[in-house]
Symmetry: C2
Subunit: 432 residues, 2 copies
């Protein structure tokens, strides 16, 4: 199947920054872009889609979430952190099994697709259920089975989660024609003992895998680690070999300058989650320092229990204004950098080649923005418009590996009404 | 004309907080609500609108903006403040006359109506043009002619803007059946001399008017005022009599504890503009201190040149998460307080009686939110859902003084295509 998208303004990324091809043509052959130009291709296409007056741009990457937590959206709002987590979130999580995770993942995938996200990095229970949902939906995801080992004496070979993580990798890595990649996950320094962390890190290194962790999200966990081990969480992970293959760390709100140097040296990507960090009162991640150090920074929503959305346009927007305010500097961050975080940097973190930007030979992962809206008028500066003004709801088409997943409010790969009904039934049970 | 909205979940505000009437009925007779109950009225209505599965809530107040600056949306993005303002914004503003302001105001009104705003407080040139646009659109606005007097020796009676401000008041206060109120405006301490400020303040007091000012937006203006006058901008205004009638102050980012006490004592409302304060690098307004002092706090977008939207849902969202992050406290602000800021507090600031909440006898100023969206599922906590998850684009109906202005993406009182064409033509000229 070959499709030609015509008359689009196409957002392209060059070494010099972002440019827009006006009234351009983007051709798709199977999973890949095979034409991108202001000229019409000579070659025939099976199907032509007119996108006059709209903007075609790369699809977005949500690099840290707990997708099925959409089932906990708004739970315990207004409670202090410990009460929220222990009295509200965890008792509900104890009731989540495969069916619940499947329905939650479907709802999350719907939300993400409708807001222009083509791929996400998840960290949650029953990842097999999420893998099947992602496979059917047509989008992409890096999944894992989070490993925890609270007992300091628990042996890696006795840890049920380690076994499940290995089984997940063996069964699902490269699944759905490569759309699903299996990462590994040590949940956090404060939830996993050293032996298990070292064992899993060895396994990751032997397979050249990718490790997803929570790192220095709060001042408390950071300081307690220093008290307990005499080193920061970043140093702790590094000393256990966790950064010797691919690795990416969510949050990094309270990391220290030496941690930033270490993360750069070890080529660890950082996922910035501004809404979650603000909402939970964790604080401001030193994003400028990450960028100055040359670290690959991507964006994440975190779970919907602490965001409360899975909307990368919101994260781009918040990132773009927040750090100006924090540094009292109106040019602390530019729109192009924030677009990079949500696209190419995310693809790099997920280790997806030929993804994250639009060019011939790359995967056909793109979204179309309807510019015919009051808040997108006038269109004087496309990157600024996308980062400061655009909303997730401006996405009118989401395409992943050449397949149209969402168009003009309609989900093309998911029975939305069935999902709403499932979620309604499940949440009635969860909160009864 | 009497209309009954049936089967709505209706967000009501009581002294104990917000409650939701499930499957309720809201009756409108002319400009006013004449029924609000979970029971069907006995009385006959001319027209019934079924809003099953949707949420009916008060319309929003945008209490500080420069509406027609939508024509400058995205201009000079990424430039330092002084270059942005003097090299980009001001040269364009010099080219704005009545026709430009009319088109810009129309576009701004479209954006606001479509995002659920029913009333705004504006501060910009050619307010007569904005008044005519607002009148025709069916929404509400508090307008003014901003007064500036850079020359320290300029006499009030010689100031053209003072004359225009008085003429505007005489012609338009109470215009459009009371939907338009005329306020007064001293642009800021650093742009107006003492004589003119005192003169206008006297005029406001004599008429029991309402004064709209910029106050301590940046550290620089605040400190320079102290150097120049030996007092803070708040004290400067107060000593000139500016706070002796109604008054509301935008920003207040760098006010001091004594200023906050003074603003409370003088019953001055504060308009918090979080996106603008962040984007321009002005910093964090001490919102918690305003609230602790018992000051009436409303929300504003500021102009689209520094936001870059006129979307109160974005401001609610940013307010709700920002101050938690700033104070490292996840319960620094609750959703109900933020809803208050965007509704009742705004109506109070604008001195509109029987507005800002839904009850029998109040003005029929309300919006309807379509809850049948992935990001609004599940609906466990309505205030949290509205503040943390809802988007401006979830508004499917905007009603002001009983008149439907916007429904399912269609503008009912504005020829949207004509406005887009006007704005296109004008911006081509402005930026040629």
């Amino acid at each position: 199947m070959k499709t030609l998208y015509k008359n689009a303004d196409i957002l392209c990324r060059t070494d010099a920054g972002y440019t827009v091809i006006k009234n351009g043509f983007l051709g798709v052959d199977g999973k890949f872009i095979n034409w991108l130009s202001d000229k019409k291709p000579v070659e025939a296409y099976d199907r032509t889609v007119d996108v006059t007056g709209k903007l075609l741009m790369p699809g977005l990457y949500n690099c840290h979430t707990h997708a099925a937590m959409v089932l906990l959206r708004g739970v315990g709002s207004g409670l202090p952190l410990q009460e929220w987590l222990f009295d509200k979130v965890m008792p509900i999580e104890d009731k989540l099994f495969e069916n619940e995770i499947r329905a939650g993942s479907e709802l999350a995938v719907m939300e993400m697709i409708s807001c222009g996200t083509v791929s996400f990095s998840d960290m949650y229970f029953f990842p097999e259920a999420t893998a099947e949902v992602v496979s059917a939906s047509g989008m992409k995801a890096n999944l894992n089975r989070p490993v925890q080992a609270f007992d300091p004496n628990e042996k890696p070979t006795e840890n049920r989660r380690v076994k499940e993580a290995l089984a997940l990798y063996n069964k699902y890595n490269g699944f759905a024609d490569g759309r699903i990649l299996i990462d590994f996950c040590v949940h956090a320094e404060y939830t996993c003992n050293e032996d298990v962390t070292r064992y899993l890190s060895d396994f990751v290194r032997e397979r050249n895998g990718n490790l997803h962790i929570h790192l220095s999200e709060t001042r408390r966990e950071h300081e307690e680690c220093k008290k307990k081990y005499g080193k920061t969480p970043a140093k702790w992970f590094s000393d256990l070999g966790a950064f010797d293959a691919g690795a990416f760390a969510a949050h990094c709100v309270t990391v220290e300058p030496e941690d930033i140097s270490l993360l750069k040296e070890k080529n660890v990507s950082i996922v910035h989650n501004p809404t979650s960090n603000m909402k939970l009162g964790s604080g401001f991640a030193p994003l400028k320092d990450f960028m100055d150090a040359g670290i690959n920074v991507a964006l994440g929503t975190d779970g919907a229990a602490s965001n409360n959305n899975l909307n990368l346009f919101e994260e781009m927007h918040l990132t773009s204004v927040l750090h100006n305010g924090f540094h009292l500097d109106p040019v602390s961050l530019n729109a192009e950098s924030v677009l990079d975080m949500a696209t190419v940097n995310g693809a790099k973190l997920q280790r997806r080649e030929n993804c994250g930007s639009l060019k011939v030979g790359n995967h056909a992962d793109f979204i179309v923005i309807d510019l015919h809206k009051p808040h997108l008028t006038p269109c004087l500066d496309v990157p600024a418009l996308l980062v400061y003004s655009a909303q997730g709801s401006d996405v009118c088409l989401t395409v992943c590996d050449g397949r149209e997943l969402y168009k003009d409010g309609v989900f093309l790969t998911i029975d939305a009404e069935r999902v709403y009904a499932d979620v309604r039934r499940i949440t009635e049970q969860l909160y009864s």
